[in-house]
Symmetry: C2
Subunit: 514 residues, 2 copies
């Protein structure tokens, strides 16, 4: 067999480069081809395009319902934080002062050359919120007098700004959208329960809606949120086997309550500080979904969050066929819109754009719509549709009776959702190893091919003696961090630290990460 024909047999892909060639560049190309987002003229800030923003709206709607079901309400707090507020918690300000947008003036004035320059200097500079513990804490301090005023269970959907030097769409941007829950409690136990409960909400959401399996656990001191007593997290494995921290839930102890003065008269009459928590997920989740599900043809949307579920493409070879085929397609769409999928009506697009049929079909593949229906004169004549499931290959397309399709569509979407989750679980299982020796550990995280530094082992379940020095050595040597200490760490049995051989109470999760 000639080499040339072998190359020709390779399937053509919609995204160049493919994952195996250059994963980071593939990611950027998927974001672009799927029309999810793009860079803006403002350094590090992104434009979230309608297809990406609808995905975010669906994420928000799903999470919001879960927050409300667990007793939370939404509110809104100021965009700006006076510098003096940020300073109230020492670790907190250290964590955020290095990368924040600072507002120093409140108007623009023309200088002698007619150029607009800042004028009206503020007495105290304001920081655009990187997170809102301090400004919300100041408000809670006013609201809380007695134990009867607790708990406060509030969430905020907002934009925040962290002046990151190296940005990547969705994964790390200067401005991003998120939710931040901020709660205040009477007792330590109640605050801890809240911290754990919201982590569980995130895990359930990630797995059920995003079809993205996650590990849960506690961060080491080195990886904690600045000022937190404990940081819990959900961690997912991307297709390049790196970890993505997808959400965090912080137990803040009394440190922020002390910094903000959230005090209450307790049941026994004494004056006490409240116990607080905070927890958040952001538009980073979209980056996680891309790197979990997208393939060499573009985005793959999990049906539970897909902006649209079904695209219907009329295939009209002769212009005179158009009216009849359009009518048939519209009728199918109307029928499909009566189907309820997990509490909401199916979202269906009939794509009547004037363009090349192949190009049109690929545009939906790249966008990752779960199901595409192609409908030509023959399909119409036989009252059927030609079905393509985004989780299968183009070769697997099949014709089906129209009514049978409508009847089964919700079940098929659930099948797609399940297949995406199963695939992601398998990827994680295939790339998670139990490693006890330092050499093997280093080998696991060392790319075989120096041109492809992103190709390495995955998650290593290894022993650690709890010494930050060993953690640091691993990070310095391999750029590998402890992603989380599993809650059931001791179930893995005692052992010897992979670095120093010291005693370990159980394995923790090591990985390279975003």
């Amino acid at each position: 067999m000639k080499r040339e024909s072998s190359v020709a047999k390779q399937e053509k892909t919609a995204i160049t480069p493919v994952r195996a060639e250059n994963y980071p560049e593939w990611y950027q190309q998927v974001v672009k081809a799927a029309e999810l987002a793009e860079t803006s003229p403002v350094r590090g800030c992104m434009v979230i395009r309608p297809w990406g923003y609808t995905l975010w709206e669906n994420i928000r709607e799903g999470l919001d319902a879960m927050f409300k079901a667990t007793g939370h309400v939404n509110a809104y707090f100021p965009l700006f934080i006076p510098v003096s507020f940020l300073e109230k918690e020492a670790e907190h300000v250290d964590g955020f002062a290095k990368e924040c947008a600072v507002v120093t003036h409140h108007r623009l004035e023309a200088d002698d050359d007619g150029k607009l320059v800042p004028a009206g200097a503020l007495e105290e500079p304001l920081v655009v919120r990187p997170t809102s513990e301090t400004i919300i804490g100041a408000t809670y301090a006013k609201w809380v007098q007695s134990y009867r005023d607790l708990p406060i269970l509030i969430n905020q959907w907002a934009n925040v700004v962290r002046w990151e030097m190296r940005t990547r769409l969705f994964l790390r941007t200067a401005e991003f959208l998120w939710q931040e829950g901020h709660t205040a409690h009477e007792t330590k136990e109640e605050a801890w329960d809240e911290t754990m409960k919201m982590l569980e909400v995130y895990k359930t959401f990630a797995e059920t809606y995003m079809a993205m399996p996650v590990l849960t656990g506690e961060k080491t001191a080195a990886e904690r949120f600045p000022g937190a007593t404990n940081t819990l997290c959900i961690e997912a494995m991307m297709q390049d086997r790196k970890a993505l921290q997808a959400g965090t839930s912080h137990f803040l102890g009394q440190s922020f309550a002390k910094a903000s003065g959230i005090q209450f008269q307790s049941r026994d009459g004494s004056l006490e500080h409240a116990w607080t928590t905070s927890w958040g997920v952001s538009t980073r989740l979209i980056g996680g979904m891309i790197m979990t599900h997208a393939d060499d043809n573009g985005m793959v949307m999990p049906p539970r969050l897909a902006p649209s579920h079904v695209a219907i493409l009329p295939i009209c070879r002769k212009p005179e066929d158009e009216p009849a085929i359009f009518e048939y397609c519209n009728a199918i769409a109307e029928q499909l819109r009566t189907v309820t999928y997990h509490g909401r009506a199916l979202n269906v697009v009939v794509d009547k754009r004037e363009m090349n049929a192949g190009e049109k079909s690929w545009s939906w593949i790249k966008k990752g719509i779960p199901i595409t229906l192609e409908v030509g004169p023959r399909d119409m004549a036989s009252d059927s549709v030609f079905v393509y499931r985004r989780d299968t290959t183009r070769k697997d397309r099949y014709g089906q009776d129209k009514d049978a399709f409508v009847e089964s569509v919700a079940a098929v979407l659930d099948e797609i959702q399940a297949s995406l989750l199963a695939r992601a679980i398998k990827l994680r299982e295939d790339n998670t190893c139990t490693i006890d020796e330092w050499d093997a550990f280093c080998g696991f995280f060392t790319p075989e091919n120096k041109d492809r530094p992103e190709v390495h082992g995955g998650f290593a379940m290894s022993h650690w003696c709890d010494d930050p020095a060993c953690e640091k050595k691993i990070n310095d040597t391999l750029s590998v961090t402890i992603r989380c200490i599993p809650f059931d760490r001791t179930d893995s049995g005692k052992g010897a630290c992979v670095v120093c051989g010291g005693p370990s109470s159980g394995r923790v999760v090591f990985a390279k990460s975003y």
Copy 2:
């Protein structure tokens, strides 16, 4: 009759002062008593409390559905605007440069005294968006190549900042929440139709959801959005007879397309600039609802937007009654939650807080919940409820069979909605006058009592010669502006300008305003 007893007979009100005593202060007290919002430690920025924020969520949901039904999609654009972008449209920058938050640095650093000061100066200062025409225009310029790329019909829900010197909760704050639609079209006609269509959406929303009647029309040149060719508006009359501009829809002509370079190849092959529009409403709508519906006992929520529809208050005089009454109340709540009111399930609260029954009842009156049910042992025994409608007086409360109440609740809510709208229409009709003479015009807008400058006539329908000088004279003399030029202006017949006697093609709407 003794004077004292006459005073005693006056109904006690929950809000002090009452509207007739001091309207501006009454407004602030309603916002506070209803727990809608409060000032924050950040100058001019408000904290929107859960009750107020849920109201905003309901406004957003209602409008968003209307935007989507008219073919729009949501997206998200950067918070920051480089100063050079703002400068591209000369009138625009003049309008906003005087009151914008300017970001000049991207980190904080400790100075010699350990005090944090701005560091890392930006090459070009950024403005926190006061509105997004320029930054969105820059993106549209990239998206649009051909007439096939038009129209672009995008809306954004976002926070914006305008550094106002005198702020008032909801009505005028430095940071506020809003939506801003930005559309680009192939032809002038299409852009104009869009401008009119969205004004109509705002009018429908104001009247149907907010129960707030509005006048529509065009702004004079003096009152236009900076850079717009035409600004259309909805204007409502508040209870102090001042006008509130509640929403605007701008026809931007080609000026912003030229400033941003939004060009396309037209059907005949020539290169043309797009025609654009923008339109927005903000959290100011909440201020409008308060000043339209609230009374001397606090907020009155129109049912279509109310955060909750029914509060059920268990009245337990003996502790041993509690379990049975709570159970009865919970059962009523469950029954009510199965009722659909305009597409969503009724929101019902069972208020089990331990507090004085009168205080509890007043807390819901102040919050403006449409219906309160009081349920004591006798009500339970007779399978009934004691009903209070917020649009009536406390004296009008009535007992009703429980099932009959549940059966009728949606209709009663619609009655409340209708009664609020009717009351607001009547207020406007009672305080709108046709005035032809300058002296009468001045008298209409001059308070009889100098201690109560807010008490004046209302809306004057008067002739105007279209000369900005006459408009300015009225503003300078009386602080009265032309709120809008009605679309059907000529229907009112020709006449003589109320200032100069020059020819007028029809009456326009004059009023004091917020």
